[in-house]
Symmetry: C2
Subunit: 177 residues, 2 copies
């Protein structure tokens, strides 16, 4: 296969809390050797929860950016967790809502050059407020934002989170109904 | 500030070729302590090069995914490189084209929960074919794809790369002109 890269040697250089790092030597099909660093991540879910032309958003401090970010509710898969279950869990944890209607919006790779993180995207509708169950090590501010404001926030650069933008894109055909 | 996380201790656990990893202990504003692992990346550029309702795409093997991926031309910033210059360099390296008209489409964070990677997005128009300058350790297949096919490929799940989807979204108002 023309594009393949064959692993010559593979070594874990870090085993962490939410990520592991591998440093592999590879043989490229043009005959060159190279090094590939790979961040291994459990993957996660992103939820676009919509009611009456409003979307649930969460604002939280993103430590790598040293600032807050406005995003859709999202979270990591727990060990052996099914993405559908994770989506229900994360929506309630972060916003207090459950949804009675769920649709898949496929998946994305956040940054496939060096990381295997795969995020499953969902559209959640027919919402009911139950109760938030926030994680001890996250502080979030959930709110409802009109869909048309979300589009403006993406185009104006107020929303710069890739998973949020991708989920809104994939939901386009549902949102325009 | 309500959302802040204060760094109590910071330690590099890996210094690599394209990424470094920090493992920090933080104090969250609710009084809890936690660990934040941060992947530090130089950032990069993504280019939507359009001519006659066709877009330049590149297909390449993505080692972390162990498969090929269809994406827009993109690449890492070199040390001290200006993003505008990187965009011109990467477009020619990967596709052989130069562009006489450039517009900024802002930036995105690919995965802000654990990584600082920031990608600058560009719209490139008025294209001229010059000559490819491929990197020794990348094998790419560049081609022209009709814009309407790109939209279908995103919605059908043939394109799952977040930077590609975000760039097409941000360019929407230009592409519909």
């Amino acid at each position: 296969m023309k594009f393949e890269e064959k692993t010559l040697k593979s070594e874990y250089v870090y085993n962490g809390k939410v990520l592991d790092i591998k440093r592999d030597e590879v043989l490229i099909s043009n005959g060159h050797k190279s090094v590939r660093e790979v961040v291994e991540h459990s993957g996660g879910v992103v939820i676009l929860a919509v009611q009456n032309d409003e979307v649930l958003t969460v604002e939280q401090f993103r430590y790598p950016l040293k600032k807050t970010s406005i995003e859709l509710p999202a979270g990591k898969l727990e060990k052996n967790e099914n993405p559908d279950d994770a989506a229900k869990r994360e929506l309630q944890e972060e916003t207090g809502y459950i949804a009675n209607k769920w649709d898949s919006l496929g998946y994305i790779y956040t940054t496939p050059g060096f990381c295997d993180e795969k995020l499953y995207l969902y559209l959640a509708q027919d919402l009911e407020f139950v109760k938030e169950k926030p994680d001890e090590d996250e502080i979030l501010q959930a709110k409802k934002t009109p869909i048309k404001d979300i589009y403006n926030m993406i185009h104006s650069g107020m929303i710069n989170d890739s998973k949020t933008i991708c989920t809104i894109f994939r939901a386009g055909k549902y949102l325009n109904d």
